[in-house]
Symmetry: C2
Subunit: 326 residues, 2 copies
Amino acid sequence: MNDFWKEFPIIQQQLNETCELIKHQVKIRNKEIEAALIELTYSGGKLLRPAFFFLFAQIGDEQKQDHKQLIKIAASIEILHMATLIHDDIIDDSPLRRGAVTLQSRYGKDIAVYTGDLLFTEFFELLAETMNGSDFLHTNASAMKRLLLGELDQMHTRYKKDMTISDYLRSINGKTAELFSLSCLEGAHFGHACAEVQRLAKRIGRHIGIAFQVYDDILDYTADVKTLKKPVLEDLAQGVYTLPLIFAMQKAPERFAVYLEKGATITDVQAAETAKLVHELDGVNDAKTFAKRVTEKALDDIKKLPECLGKEQLTLLTEMLLQRSY
Amino acid sequence: MNDFWKEFPIIQQQLNETCELIKHQVKIRNKEIEAALIELTYSGGKLLRPAFFFLFAQIGDEQKQDHKQLIKIAASIEILHMATLIHDDIIDDSPLRRGAVTLQSRYGKDIAVYTGDLLFTEFFELLAETMNGSDFLHTNASAMKRLLLGELDQMHTRYKKDMTISDYLRSINGKTAELFSLSCLEGAHFGHACAEVQRLAKRIGRHIGIAFQVYDDILDYTADVKTLKKPVLEDLAQGVYTLPLIFAMQKAPERFAVYLEKGATITDVQAAETAKLVHELDGVNDAKTFAKRVTEKALDDIKKLPECLGKEQLTLLTEMLLQRSY
């Protein structure tokens, strides 16, 4: 666990327990894979989704809560996230994830495919333990499906020269916002918050997820390898055309045509020139403005939540996360 | 649907409905993947697992059965099977499956990874619809996990020069027998058969699964490309050392050493020489004897089932399947 959570001691403690449970859950007879999974769990991911889950649980009714159940559900969320990360890295052929060598580049795609699959089963097992008989079983199945459809959408629109904002939003709504939304909703629901809080939680999570992804995509155009812990302009080179590029392209499509028609054969120099053009045409600033507006929608909804420590911390976290270093 | 089931008209009808449901279930906005999945559903797989499921359901109490629920559970089983096939083909880099080009060789590994994942979510959705609140949710999660651990075991023992019968059995117990066992058990359970029939169903399924896999592995050493619809000696070349080879190796390890130390660099000629040696040392016959013994265990248990059409057809199918063309 990193020190991102030092100002949130309750959450930090709950996230530690979640990690411990994940570590226990991924114990299998193949020790190599077990070690890789434990490393992934502890390798500096912020565990944001479980954190939002616990913050919303805090807004609920502590008297009615089942602590062990909450930890298990938080673990199920992070495990689903880990599974999709591992499979994404196969698609992207990413060498690095969270600053560490990815599972597929260390062990090969074969192990990565099955390890991701194994995590899907762990996810499923935890749900069978915590919500058998609840409608949330359906909710989880649908969320997992939308998540995957979002990934497929992203793959389907790779190198799409006329990529639109609506293509982009559809993809990130599935691949990122869905799980943030589920995390918040499940926190509120299994934390025994009232129906109105649950309704808000779902929407807050969706907005946080969208803003988070937009900021993450902005980083591809602004950060350097050292701070981001992953290669920069990777999305662009891999044909994942994100919001800064789309905004800029809409202003002068003809200036981008020469670069985008290169598709996967774009060189580092050409990618750098494309990025320069994105900045010049205010693509990054426009994307920031967009993310800021979405963040404000989330903060407005957060204001409507009942007063409590959870609400304060949720406000703080959302501001920290979505207003960091830009 | 092929004409394998022409002597089993009731089952044939139920399998047709199962395929229709799968076709409906895999409707997604990505039409390319949808088409690939529908092709896989109809491409000549025998749907053995759903068939065993329905045969055991027939032994149950028809009055109490929910027809739609049974079709959905049968579909969940086949969908889980399809998901693992697609991911296996990535690992194996298989060009052919069921006589058709595999999903990964036609669309690439990226689409294959997500398509398999998508099927896991369909599996999960169907379970949420049919057995929410039932202990069988856990049973399914555990089965899926054992299935994957079996695949991982197989991968872990690739090119293992001292592969043992126990290594082999552990792997096929997970990767094949688990799902046959689950299919039979679920058929008996959701068909409202008594507890004793359910207990037998589980064991019969396991034995049928083991025998089926051993015979399938034998085919790698006996069939030609035309009848098997897939390349022969593929397992051997890919380091999947199966029962015929293991039996033969145990008799004269020194004669195999020269071939097996080649690992993945074994040539077609050397693979053919290895196969010849397997035959010479009775590896194929020994494996057949083994499979026959396991089949007899299944048939003995089938005899203990209550008299009914389902029992007759189950006997017939087991004999047809496990005593075909060897």
